[in-house]
Amino acid sequence: MIDRRMFLQGASAAAALSGEALGAMTGLGSGVAPAADEAEAAAAKQIAMSRQSTPVRLGIIGPGSRGKELVRNFLRVPGVKIVAAADVYKPRFAELNQVCGYGVDAVADYRALCDRKDLDAIVVATPLGLHAEHVLAALRSGHNVYGEKTMAYTVKDAEEIVRVAEDGKRIFQVGHQYRYSPWIRAALARVKAGEIGTVTHVEAYWHRNNDWRRPVQDASLERLINWRLYHEWSLGLIAELGSHHMDLANWVFGARPVSALASGSICRYHDGRETDDNVQVVLGYPEGRRFTFSSVTDNAKAGDQLWLYGEKGSLNLTLQDATFFYEPHRMVRVKAGVQKGVTTSASYNPAGEMPYRGPGKPVEISTGEDPTTAATRAFIYCVRNEVRPISDVHVGLGSASAVVNANKARYEKKEIEIAAPAGM
């Protein structure tokens, strides 16, 4: 399906964007390499508004709440039709039809969906523990796949997805939609150009104030509906909330974590859940750089945000905007010459060690749209034009490795070294 020329073009773009080439982003390079420019242009092409409307037929495995949201977004792309859905929970089918405004073929077994020959791609939005099974079946049946994050429950499964997607030359996009957010891309391009110096710390928060439960009308459905709360299919807050931030850290640092340290507990919701209601993660990156993540579920003051710290300034990223802050000026070398003299005054700096509470400098962009709208449109672009997605298997593997190892550290209660995953 993908001819050699197209595939190579896509591959070079992906290499620059998602993997090793991101070393430049740490501020080491003062100028932006032409290759990176090209890659950014290729990425912009994927994300750009498009009126291409050739028919694209999608199937979805798991049209739950996230699945339906993806469908809503896919339906904003001209020419897209949802033709088939698989789910073990029957009420989802009627809900999906409601979202689509037409009837979607419903099957209980995802294998029947993968067997279909009339689909251009399959969307997988099932619980994490089932991602690999469903994604691999979809890829092996020759389909392109949009798979929700986190890519897989184990690193081994994630590596297998990389292998099968690459061998079969299928298009795989993982649901790290922040990579498609215009303000994040614009802000990170400036970070890459050195605006805040070399970033050594990424601090991330996702704080909420609710018990993370969905109402369950029938007790027998508890583990099916509230799967996030049980180990069988979930890696808890680290995966469901933290994977986006870890993906951004991978992107910013242009590397994958080399160590993980994590803790967590149940401090508020003693309701039979197995996964933590608060977690703290520290990931180590090459050259001593650090990423920290905190998630709590009984206070929402901090919300969902990231801070990037460099010696020249800071960048704050949220779901809707990006804002720069700058460090006080440092010593600079000046030309020695004829003295001009100074005028004395009574001023002094009262700030001391107090945190800065003034406004920052927002990143102005003209096309701030929902990242999921952009990501789904980009995926359809990739399917139509046989291009490798920005958020490809390697991006998926990188954050999956971070999530899985952080979770491992949490349960082993010690800092662990992370081996480079295969398939990098």
Partner: protein, 634 residues
């Protein structure tokens, strides 16, 4: 196949009516019974049936042909009840008539020779016809149900569809017909009581068929559909079924049709639900409009006044206002989860429609529609279609494209300035709903001539969000709830336990503290438009935030408009429409929307001080010294 179906129908009819015995003789019945195959040596006409005289055979054949002919001529069999329907007097005041719609399972209730009795002394009407399938019932639903003005209809249907009586049917086809009947009932203010299927392991007239799993699946769908749409559901199946999946011993004649004992079991089951729906029970205390949604799967509770039900309240800031939800739930954790879902839904709709957020879908459309068609999702498109509908219906008094106008007047982000005439006439190209092109087949929006238009969700977006939340809470089983979008758009789900509605006081804007009308709101919405919250004062003049897009100036002289309508989206839009339109134009529009009520208060110099349109009580009498009325809206 056709042959088999015809016989199936005949069998179902005869089995109930008792007028005919099991068909004997003739190619049709033996083909069904399977006896034909065992007599391979015989000719087609000689079967295992006793050889009758040719005259009798001929008469039988003629009878069958006659039946087929009459079915062709009157497929839904409107003839059967036409005269009885016409003769039935309208329900007496206070009489809560209930029509039982269905097939032989209904037709046989209190009829034929099975000894059953059909609710003596109750105003219940039997409109079952043996052998009928749901498509036939859809066609006679107007004549045999709607025209009889019942308070409720009990629908027991589907088993003949499964049997294929009128041709092969898929579950989706059956479900579509049931939906159609539910919607017909709802559109006519008739409460739909949907029944499960009855057990059946096999149909005697079609022994090869194994209907049990299909009937179970259909029943599960009926239960789900009822719960999702606020209909009552009657579970006959559980009451009748034995451990082997067939009727309990003695409750059925031949495994399909109930005996008198079977009907005696079914009677109280359905009666209990009818009483809950219509408040006609003898166990007292139930408010007449209480409880019309049955318990959800796995929920032991069957009525909102069950002990331990508490009322919960929570607010949430969104869409530039404060949303509030009140609801009754069994415990705080359940209520909290429901609130969380409700406010997530508000935020989701806000993310769709906000013109303050660059990330919203509406903002994307505003950016891109000037350069060509923008495809959007079905939900957003539905919203735009409704906004376009009211723009057109009101002749532009409501206009979905007032964005640039609001900006020019400085109302965006709470400000205010008086633009020059030149500025306003410059807006003629960018304001005007006629320039918004909607294309349904591609769900796309474009702005004619590449104009830099800007759609504005005001005056309809909050209503749309409120409707979405109401739908979601209903789906979650909430039977008593109240949603407020900043007090200007309200929606009532059911009623508080033991009450007739959620009380809403419509203030009289001319007299501080006075109530013009007290509305008991139930399964309906109420929206109010007024200048009291958003306005600015310049040179001593009050400029209202509600604009007349036709003059591009704020509306003058109108104090307040209030509209009641089953849809919050519509009441929100209509409250602006009647605020902006003059008295005459409003009256003429409101005549064409009889389901909506409206009242508009004006300053004396601007028209009638109080204008009520379709309003159910004498709201405008208050100013003349009478107290406001109190009517229940549902």
């Amino acid at each position: 196949m056709k042959l088999l179906l015809v016989v199936g129908l005949a069998t179902m009819m005869s089995a109930v009516g008792g007028a005919q015995t099991t068909p004997t003789g003739g190619a049709q019945s033996s083909a069904v019974g399977g006896a034909q195959t065992s007599t391979a040596s015989g000719s087609q006409t000689s079967s295992t049936a006793p050889v009758a005289d040719p005259a009798a055979d001929l008469a039988k054949a003629q009878g069958q042909i006659q039946r087929m002919k009459s079915q062709l001529a009157d497929w839904p069999n409107l003839h059967r009840y036409r005269d009885e329907d016409a003769a039935l007097a309208p329900p007496a005041p206070g009489e809560k008539r209930v029509v039982f719609m269905g097939d032989s399972l209904t037709d046989g209730w209190g009829r034929g020779n099975n000894g059953s009795v059909f609710f003596p002394g109750k105003p219940y009407v039997n409109r079952g016809i043996s052998g009928q399938t749901t498509p036939q019932m859809v066609l006679r639903f107007q004549q045999d149900v709607v025209a009889l003005h019942p308070a409720a209809v009990v629908l027991l249907a589907g088993t003949n569809d499964v049997a294929g009586n009128t041709g092969p049917m898929t579950p989706a086809m059956i479900e579509d017909n049931i939906k159609s009947m539910a919607e017909l009932a709802q559109a006519n203010g008739i409460k739909m009581i949907l029944c499960s299927e009855l057990p059946a392991l096999m149909y005697p007239w079609s022994p090869a068929m194994k209907p049990a799993p299909i009937l179970l699946e259909l029943s599960a769908w009926e239960k789900e559909y009822a719960a999702a749409h606020g209909l009552a559901y009657v579970d006959y199946y559980s009451a009748l079924v034995g451990p082997d999946g067939a009727f309990k011993p003695g409750l059925s004649k031949e495994g399909v049709h109930p005996t008198a004992a079977g009907y005696a079991v079914m009677g109280p089951v359905v009666e209990k639900v009818i009483d809950q729906v219509l408040g006609t029970g003898t166990d007292g205390g139930t408010a007449p409009h209480d409880m019309h949604v049955p318990a959800l799967p796995g929920t032991p509770r069957t009525s909102v006044e069950a002990p331990g039900l508490g009322r919960f309240h929570r607010t949430h800031t969104a869409m530039g206002t404060e949303f509030a939800v009140d609801l009754y739930a069994s415990d705080a954790a359940t209520a909290d989860r429901l609130m969380e879902l409700a406010f997530d839904e508000v935020d989701r709709v806000d993310d769709l429609l906000s013109n303050y957020k660059a990330t919203s879908e509406l903002s994307r459309i505003n950016r891109e529609a000037r350069t060509g068609a923008v495809t959007t999702d079905p939900e957003t498109f539905r919203f735009l279609e409704r906004a376009a509908y009211w723009s057109e219906r009101s002749g532009g008094a409501f206009d979905m494209s007032v964005g640039p106008l609001l900006r020019t007047w400085g109302f965006f982000f709470h400000g205010g300035r008086v633009p020059s005439d030149a500025e306003l006439s410059g807006l003629r190209t960018t304001v005007g709903w006629g320039g918004v092109r909607l294309d349904a087949p591609t769900r796309s929006v474009s702005f004619a001539g590449g104009r830099a238009m800007e759609l504005d969700p005001g005056s309809i977006g909050k209503g749309f969000a409120v409707d979405s939340v109401a739908r979601l809470l209903r789906e979650q089983g909430v039977r008593a709830g109240f949603i407020s979008a900043g007090g200007s758009t309200l929606y009532a789900i059911g009623t508080p336990p033991g009450e007739t509605g959620w009380r809403v006081d419509v203030p009289d804007p001319a007299r501080r503290g006075a109530v013009a009308s007290r509305v008991m709101l139930k399964d309906s919405s109420l929206s109010t438009g007024a200048c009291t919250e958003k306005f600015f004062i310049k040179d001593g003049h009050v400029y209202c935030h509600i604009f007349d897009p036709r003059t591009m100036r704020p509306v003058e002289g109108v104090l307040q408009s209030t509209v009641i309508d089953p849809s919050a989206t519509d009441s929100d839009a209509l409250s602006t429409v009647v605020f902006v339109l003059g008295a005459k134009a409003s009256e003429s529009l409101m005549k064409s929307v009889p389901e909506a009520e409206a009242v508009v208060f004006r300053k004396a110099e601007a028209g009638p001080v109080c204008l009520a349109m379709n309003w159910r009580d004498d709201v405008c009498a208050v100013g003349r010294g009478r107290s406001g009325g109190e009517a229940i809206r549902d």
